[in-house]
């Protein structure tokens, strides 16, 4: 406790008044001097003492309590600070600092810790420093010490510092790290068009100087491809996406012995494959009421290029009308079925009957096109059961159902089969019906009135059924391609709202997309949706149960999860991932890769400890930048404005801050004393002047 005193003025009147009084008093004293009054100086002193009294001189007495100096330490605990022995280094440095400060009376240590930023933030050390500074009075801060690897991502947020800034840098001089950088990965790519990814493998720090390193590329969790690639050079990687929808590409270089971390050795990129245009060839065998349904469906989709041919007049019908009075054009069969067939994504035969228009070789061509990965949909009318059926052509070998020659003409409500309830093409379709399902499970849509009886192919899946469980919609995987058979041409009744109609648009849309291998409509699929840190793992299957899924975390730990059925053919579970990175899912048959957060977070972009980023800020305050590896520094007191660091020491500025506990103001003299002084002076002046007046000069007579 110390006491400090000082003299202050506490005027009784406002300053201008006092000025006026002082001027008047000076004038009066001047007049007295001019008139030669002998007591003029006493008058002047009396006026001065009165003016002084008005100024109210007082003594201020302060009682002070000294405050400790604060050394602020900010410890970076972001992910990059958890590499190697950096946590131990940081703790050792902090302990040493704590011990040094404990030996200094009147100095205390405040520690702030910086965790990982949310999401892909990085190390926001300056923000943490500003927050810690805001919590302390700036007058008491003697020094600021940062314990970090120096990889700071928010140097622009450097706060104003009241004290020298010191940085203790972790890490070792022989640290090195290899990382994989993926530049310019697009989010979308058009199927069939080549995109270029730029890939670079970079060694940072004291790298051993390898020339070629292995690189593996895996597409959609499939078997990885192995390459040897050079280090430190941009590589252009031409790529054509294998399928529509989300393509997950994973690039990885194996961890090299001695490198800091393998967290930045992999990159995952998800590219949404978009079909440029879906090219659909629709061949209608004859004009019929359902034709416009197909046209409306395919033409309402702006991404579909529809090439439509209707056989308006078969070759055997000739009535002698001149050709120039007919609006008929030749069916360019050779162009469509030989030359351009591969360009189509889907070929639809809509009530097509063999009428000598397409030779068998052309239909064989279509069958080969399916085997090579094409898609054919047959929408069958009664002709499918007849002698002109396309089944009785080379195309029949790939179709999912053989006609029995029976055509049922009776009203029935189409139903989903057991497989159909699980199959993505028809799953949940009754929910799209105009009415809720009846109590016996009959979907709430309208009836159809025709069914071509077919015997399903052993490879085929029957997803919809007509009367007495007869197959109505059959799907089949043939070779690389897919085929589907709709054994009725009455889907248009749904379109026209007969008996309320039905979800014809949704059914045919899903059917077309399944045929074109939309990944969202795969029957057997395993995938995961990411929401923050939560993984929603979904398995869709046609089987009756789904096996457990093994999740492999980035650090190699495996977790086995069982999935719960949520709807027919769909199994799900939720799981919270412990950290960001790449997770691999497998159920033994299907694999998936999913990235939580960025595959290589910002923290791992640059992992080599460096002082370069912090150096300008440190120099500004004449602080010190030392590597912990070279030994821990001592603390010394320095004066403000002097260099605050040297070989093996860092400085702190003694602040001598204090807290005022008591403040007392007492007048220098009491009022009566001033009155006494002024009275004596006035009386003195009167006496002095009066005595002279009392002896008048002798009058000359």
């Amino acid at each position: 406790m110390t006491v400090a005193e000082r003299l202050i003025l506490d005027p009784l009147l406002p300053w201008p008044w006092i000025g006026v009084i002082a001027v008047l008093a000076t004038l009066a004293a001047g007049l007295a001097l001019w008139r030669g009054l002998r007591g003029w100086w006493l008058r002047a002193l009396a006026a001065a003492s009165l003016t002084l009294a008005l100024l109210g001189p007082a003594i201020e007495e302060e009682r002070r309590q000294p405050l400790t100096d604060i050394v602020l330490a900010v410890v970076d605990e972001s992910a990059s600070q958890r590499l190697g022995d950096r946590p131990a280094q940081s703790e050792a440095a902090l302990e040493a600092l704590r011990a040094e400060i404990a030996q200094r009376p009147g100095t205390e240590l405040r520690v702030a810790r910086l965790p990982d930023a949310e999401g892909e933030g990085g190390t926001f050390l300056m923000r943490a420093l500003a927050e810690a500074l805001a919590a302390e009075p700036p007058g008491r801060i003697a020094a600021v010490v940062l314990i970090t690897d120096g990889q700071v991502h928010d140097m622009s947020a450097l706060p104003a510092l009241p004290a020298p800034l010191h940085a203790l840098i972790t890490g070792r001089a022989d640290d090195w790290d290899r990382r994989l950088i993926l530049r310019n990965a697009p989010a979308f790519a058009i199927l069939g068009e080549e995109i270029t990814l730029t890939l670079r493998i970079e060694d940072q720090g004291a790298a051993p100087g390898a020339e070629l390193v292995p690189l593996t590329i895996a597409v959609d969790g499939g078997e990885p491809l192995h390459f040897e690639v050079p280090v430190g050079r941009d590589m252009d990687l031409p790529l054509v996406l294998p399928h529509g929808g989300m393509n997950t590409l994973r690039f990885e270089t194996p961890p090299a012995p001695g490198e800091l971390t393998d967290r930045n050795n992999a990159a995952i990129v998800q590219i949404n494959g978009v079909r440029d245009r879906l090219r659909v060839l629709l061949v209608s065998g004859e004009p019929h009421p359902g034709e416009r349904t197909w046209r409306n469906l395919l033409k309402s989709d702006a991404s579909v290029d529809l090439v439509h041919f209707t056989i308006l007049r078969p070759p055997e019908k000739q009535d002698g009308v001149p050709v120039d009075e007919l609006s008929l054009i030749a069916f360019p069969t050779r162009e469509l079925f030989v030359e351009r067939l591969e360009d189509f994504d889907l070929v639809i035969f809509d009530r097509y009957r063999r009428r000598g228009i397409l030779p068998n070789e052309y239909l064989q061509n279509v069958a080969d096109y399916v085997m090579r990965g094409g898609a054919v949909l047959v929408s069958a009318g009664p002709e499918y059961g007849g002698v002109e059926s396309v089944y009785r052509s080379p195309l029949g070998a790939v179709l999912p159902g053989a006609p029995t020659a029976r055509v049922l003409e009776e009203g029935y409500v189409p139903r989903l089969s057991g497989t159909g309830e699980r199959h993505p093409v028809t799953e949940g379709l009754p929910a799209f019906a105009p009415r809720p399902p009846a109590e016996d499970g009959t979907p709430g849509w309208g009836r159809w009135f025709r069914l071509v009886e077919v015997i399903p192919d052993p490879r085929a899946q029957v997803v919809m059924e007509g009367p007495q469980g007869r197959p109505l919609l059959l799907l089949s995987h043939v070779g690389e391609g897919r085929t589907a058979l709709l054994a009725s041409d009455h889907a248009w009744l749904w379109d026209r709202g007969f008996e309320g109609g039905g979800p014809q648009l949704e059914l045919l849309r899903r059917l077309a997309h399944w045929l074109m291998k939309e990944p969202e409509l795969e029957e057997e699929a395993l995938w995961a949706e990411v929401q923050g840190q939560t993984l929603r793992i979904i398995r869709r299957t046609l089987a009756d149960e789904a096996g457990p899924v093994t999740v492999t975390a980035p650090d190699g730990t495996e977790t086995v999860l069982t999935l719960d059925p949520v709807s027919p053919g769909r199994y799900e579970t939720q799981w919270t991932a412990p950290e960001t990175g790449l997770y691999r899912l497998t159920d033994g048959e299907h694999d998936a890769v999913v990235a939580i957060g960025p595959a290589a977070p910002r923290e791992f972009e640059a992992t080599i400890a460096t002082g370069d980023i912090l150096a300008p800020a440190v120099e500004q305050t004449r602080g010190g930048l030392l590597r912990i590896e070279d030994g821990l520094p001592d603390l010394r007191e320095v004066r403000e404005g002097r260099p605050a660091a040297g070989r093996g020491w860092i400085g702190l500025i003694p602040r001598e801050a204090h807290l005022v506990t008591d403040l007392r103001i007492s007048p220098l003299l009491p009022a009566w004393a001033w009155l006494l002084i002024a009275s004596i002076l006035i009386l003195g002046a009167w006496l002095r002047e009066g005595r002279r007046q009392g002896r008048p000069p002798a009058r000359a007579s």
Binding site: P289, N296, K299, V307, H308, V321, R340, D343, F344
Partner: protein, 127 residues
């Protein structure tokens, strides 16, 4: 009832099966009304026909008494006389052609409208 307009010369009804320019029945008035094309239907570049509304006109109005021209008895002989002599038979033929076009229009919609794009589409497929 949608807005109507007199049948434009490029309407798909003129070429769904036969190419026809007039629409006679027992009478041969040229006035026929169909659903109006949407105001934004325009002549697209390289497209000789207007891209009319994708659907089918829900109504065709005309006073040509087509049903009378089409009507036949059980032996296939026409019930009503149409015009005079050979010219009349030709008019009946055109009435039937109009009828066929009408049915084709109902069944195939504007199929014939986009036939004209097929060469362009095929051209594009090769690229």
């Amino acid at each position: 009832m949608p807005p109507l307009e007199p049948l434009p010369p490029d309407h798909v009804l003129t070429r769904t099966f036969y190419l026809i320019r007039e629409f006679p029945g027992r009478h041969a008035s040229p006035e026929i009304w169909v659903e109006a094309a949407p105001p934004d239907a325009e002549l697209a570049e390289g497209m000789p026909f207007r891209a009319l509304n994708d659907g089918v006109t829900p109504v065709v109005i005309g006073g040509n008494d087509w049903a009378a021209a089409w009507a036949v008895d059980e032996w296939g002989a026409p019930l009503m006389p149409v015009g005079r002599g050979l010219a009349g038979e030709r008019q009946r033929e055109y009435a039937l052609r109009f009828g066929i076009n009408l049915v084709m229009h109902v069944l195939t919609g504007n199929y014939k409208s986009d036939q004209v794009h097929v060469p362009a589409l095929l051209e594009r497929l090769g690229q």
